[in-house]
Assembly symmetry: C2
Homo-oligomer: 360 residues x 2
């Protein structure tokens, strides 16, 4: 995708130097800054602090983190320890453990001297797999957008929550992949972007859409219901952090409320994610661990001061009690369909099973 | 109610000096500051900029604004002009026009020399009426809270949106009036407080509850759905800015989403407001004008800098498109009951009719 018109990806690997560079999403939308990740600790830090975020990108970054770690210690014990460190960074996105298991399985099968080089190849393969999955999600999702029938006088208008665009993946995005596929092919679309408190990933989405030339409007999370109810939204598109075997979806906190509004208004709610987001070990959403993050994410707001420098303000005193779950669970019954690289299917046990493997 | 343990109200009238003082809610929760309103323009400014906010308090402040204006020009033309200026400040809260009509009707019936003094008496009467209404709402609502049956191990827990406490009224509050009535009488309660982007009135609610010694926890608006779905909330209590004849309710943007979650989880959603909030001229919610406010309310966030001084940060550039409706409409079918000073009734045409007048 494009930053200032130049094609790029969210993570750049340099195997010869034993490092990767990641686009620092805590500096966006104000500043384009790349962070060098050349140690296991730096990889874990990048994920924990949300310099990289988005379930697919967390998976790819963890894979590269294993490659960085394998350059120093590729022993069985070293690889297991590195995987454990990375697995502990964030609990909800299952792509993380998927990528770590794939890396471990591949590397432990190789003789020790070859592991470091294979680690980079396997991490690259995971990254390429992610780009291919995103591209396929875009292709499967595009017809869903072409099918929307907005009222006369305005283009089709979709609402997305959090950031499930190319910033959340290696490239192309998940929920936004069909938007890019459709607008690249000439369809006129408008995107409503929810702010996504407390981390404000909607600001990333607005920045990303603007970079790609897609018209969008930012709204408060609270405004999503009224927009949907009053007929200004034709579909909701969201990503996922973990999809249970029955089609329940854990995604950014606030997703459930949008899905309720979709059902009430009779518009579709689509969940778009790579198959690596599916966790058949979680039979229902009740089995998915929900990350609780620091209350300071609500208490302190980041932005730019009058001089345009990075700054922050405290809006709540440290002693005010805050509860800050990062994800919620949207029951399958509220989801119109799930889209993976293998196609489109209903949010049912059978549908999810098909979405893991593609058509029989 | 109490500020630092001292009983107070949100507006203090000084008829001899021809002015009122209002608690500046744009400075809260960081600073307790009183603003002198001694001109019509200052009264309009206080309402427009939300130094005073909350439908009942807007009504009372407008009434006092008429008294301030009448001190300079109590002619028919002067009073009509003052009412027009105040009516134009904010479009959604109908208590505003209710108070202005009551002031105009009273004053135009008096001979010119007596109008200024009657203006203060009538504004005082409106303020006292508001306190009495809030107190009665508390009394009618308290049994609803006593009826809640939380799971073993935690106190009854209610969720409120925006601020419908004593800061939104002259005293006692609307949605929070039953909370104060119940906790004053010894019932243990916990309140979940939604942040209420973009103006963050939840921070006012948390401050107000803390001043009264009621335990509360602040959450992102996005977290309300998951909290309700997972059984951590026993009831939602909200105020109203305008109640249509059929029971549809305009209230702070985001209310509709909470009501949807209540229905999905099978918990009650109560709307509490004085009868002056009812507008039988609006047959349904579709007739209620929804105020759209400046997009900078999302783009710029206010708080304290590291030194504890009032400060702000820009989180979105001025050119990023923002849509910022201040209210939404919750359909009557999602509301369990409406509470006014006249009692508790269903959100139906018949129920609303009874809530305007009290029992026949």
């Amino acid at each position: 995708m494009l930053i200032d018109g130049v094609a790029t990806r969210t993570v750049r690997a340099d195997p010869a130097a034993g490092l990767i560079e990641v686009l620092d999403q805590t500096a966006l939308p104000h500043q384009v800054r790349w962070v060098v990740v050349d140690t296991l600790a730096a990889a874990a830090h990048a994920i924990t602090t949300m310099q990289v975020r988005g379930a697919p990108l967390i998976g790819a970054t963890a894979a590269y983190g294993m490659a960085v770690a394998a350059g120093r210690d590729a022993s069985d014990a070293g690889l297991h320890a590195a995987a454990a460190t990375l697995a502990a960074t964030r609990p909800t996105a299952v792509n993380l453990s998927w990528a770590l298991h794939r890396m471990l399985g591949r590397l432990l099968a190789e003789p020790l001297p070859d592991r470091a080089i294979w680690a980079w190849r396997e991490a690259d393969a995971i990254a390429e797999h992610d780009v291919a999955a995103s591209t396929a999600i875009g292709a499967h999702g595009e017809p869903l957008l072409r099918r929307l029938r907005p009222p006369a006088g305005r283009p089709a208008s979709v609402l997305t929550h959090c950031n499930a665009g190319w910033l959340a993946t290696v490239d192309r995005g998940t929920a936004l992949a069909p938007v890019y596929a459709a607008t690249d092919a000439g369809l006129e679309l408008h995107v409503w972007v929810s702010e996504t408190r407390p981390r404000n990933q909607g600001l990333l989405t607005a920045w990303e859409l603007d970079q790609q030339g897609v018209p969008c409007t930012v709204i408060a999370d609270n405004a999503c219901g009224e927009l949907i109810r009053s007929g200004q939204v034709d579909a909701v598109l969201v990503g996922a952090d973990r999809i249970a075997a029955n089609g329940d979806v854990a995604n950014k906190i606030g997703t459930y409320l949008k899905a309720l509004a979709c059902v009430d208004a009779g518009i579709p709610c689509y969940v778009l994610a790579p198959a690596s987001t599916i966790d058949i070990g979680s039979l229902t959403g009740a089995a998915i661990p929900i990350e609780e993050r620091d209350g300071d994410e609500l208490r302190v707001v980041h932005g730019l001061d009058a001089a345009g420098e990075a700054s922050s303000v405290r809006q709540l005193a440290a002693e005010v009690p805050v509860y800050n779950p990062a994800f919620d669970v949207t029951p399958a019954r509220l989801i119109t369909a799930i889209v993976t690289e293998h196609g489109v299917a209903p949010a049912t046990t059978d549908g999810v099973s098909r979405l893991m493997r593609g058509p029989a």
